[in-house]
C-alpha cells in the first residue's frame, strides 16, 4: 500500500507541485489538498506544508494562512501524533500557528537569498532525519526573504536541551538565531525548515540530499501506519 501524503495548497503556494513531484518520486501517493478543505483526505499518513507566499505573505509571513480552514485539520492531525513537515512558507505558517516554536523574521541582509546552503545534521534519531548521520553535512537550496528564525534566548536554550533543533546552517544565510535551519515541536512529530528538500531530490539538479529528509519522513509515516495496523 502506498503512503498517502497531503500537500496543502494555499493561495500563493508555489512549491506545492515540486513537493508532490518529489514525494511521488520517492514512492508516496502525494496529492494536493486545497486550503479551504476542512478535512484531510481519509488515510492521510503525513502532511506537508509547502513553500510559497500564502495569502501574499501580508501582515507577516504565514500569519494569515494559519487561519485557513484546513489548518484546524492539520492541528488535530498533529495533536494525534501525525507527522507534519513545513517547508519555508510552511515553516512560517507552523510557527505562526504555534505548532512550532519561534518565528521567522526578514533576513538580516534584507535581501532575498537563493542558493545552495550547507546544513549540519544535529540529530539523526528523528522521523525527519533518520536517513542521515549525526554530524552529516547536507547541501539543500534556500530561497527566501523571511528566513531568520528567532526565539528568545531562554527558549533557544530550552530547545537545545530538549534536542528540538535538528539542522543548523554551516554558513548562516539569513541571520537565524543560533544558526537554526530546522526545529521540531516538543513531541517531535512536527518539523519546519527553511531549506527546500523538495528541490534537491535529483542529483541532476545539484544535490540529492533533500531526498534524505523526505524519505525519512516517509519511513516514519510508514512505520506509524504499520504500528496502527498492528495496534488495531
Amino acid at each position: 500500500m502506498t503512503l498517502r501524503v497531503a500537500v496543502i495548497q494555499f493561495p500563493g503556494s508555489n512549491d506545492d507541485r515540486d513537493a508532490v513531484w518529489s514525494l511521488k518520486a520517492l514512492g508516496a501517493d502525494a496529492s494536493l489538498v486545497w486550503h479551504a478543505q476542512s478535512e484531510l483526505p481519509a488515510g492521510t499518513a503525513a502532511v506537508v506544508l509547502p513553500g510559497g507566499f500564502s495569502y501574499g505573505d501580508y501582515l507577516r509571513s504565514g500569519a494569515i494562512a494559519r487561519f485557513a480552514p484546513v489548518m484546524e485539520a492539520v492541528r488535530a492531525f498533529a495533536a494525534g501524533g501525525g507527522l507534519v513537515l513545513g517547508i519555508c512558507n510552511g515553516f512560517q505558517i507552523l510557527c505562526e500557528a504555534d505548532l512550532l516554536p519561534g518565528v521567522l523574521r526578514p533576513n538580516a541582509s534584507l535581501s532575498f537569498v537563493c542558493r545552495d546552503v550547507e546544513l549540519r545534521v544535529e540529530r539523526a534519531d528523528t522521523p525527519f532525519t533518520s536517513r542521515c548521520q549525526e554530524g552529516q553535512r547536507l547541501v539543500i537550496p534556500v530561497k527566501h526573504h523571511d528566513g531568520a528564525w528567532f526565539a528568545p534566548p531562554d527558549l533557544v536554550t530550552q530547545l537545545e536541551e530538549r534536542g528540538q533543533i535538528l539542522l543548523r546552517y554551516e554558513d548562516n544565510p539569513n541571520g537565524a538565531v543560533a544558526d537554526v535551519a530546522a526545529v521540531t515541536n516538543e513531541g517531535g512529530n512536527v518539523m519546519g525548515l527553511m531549506p527546500h528538500p523538495e528541490h534537491a531530490v535529483d542529483p541532476l539538479l545539484g544535490s540529492g540530499d533533500g531526498a534524505l529528509i523526505l524519505a525519512s519522513l516517509l519511513d516514519a509515516a510508514r512505520e506509524r501506519e504499520s504500528a496502527a495496523v498492528v495496534g488495531a
Partner: protein
C-alpha cells in the same frame, strides 16, 4: 468607532529595515541615532463604547495583528 493599532518590533529585536532607513537618513545629513520600523493598522469597529472597542481591538492584536514573540502593540481608540 475608529481605532489605530501601532505595532512595533520589540526592543532588542533586530530590525534590518530600521537599520537601512537609519543609514539612509544619515547619508542625507540627519543626525539619527536609531530608527525602528513598525506598522500602523487603522480599523473601524462596531462597538457601543470606547472600552468595548478597545477590548475588541486588543483581541485582534493578540490573535493576528502582532506576534508577541517579536512585536509589541499599542491601541488608540478615537471617540
Amino acid at each position: 468607532m475608529r481605532a489605530t493599532v501601532l505595532v512595533r518590533p520589540k526592543e532588542g529585536i533586530l530590525d534590518p529595515q530600521g537599520q537601512a532607513v537609519e543609514q539612509s537618513l544619515r547619508k542625507l545629513g540627519f543626525a539619527v541615532a536609531d530608527a525602528r520600523i513598525g506598522r500602523v493598522v487603522d480599523v473601524e469597529v462596531e462597538a457601543s463604547s470606547a472600552d468595548e472597542a478597545r477590548k475588541q481591538v486588543d483581541e485582534m492584536c493578540r490573535q493576528l495583528l502582532a506576534n508577541p514573540l517579536v512585536e509589541s502593540y499599542e491601541v488608540e481608540v478615537h471617540e
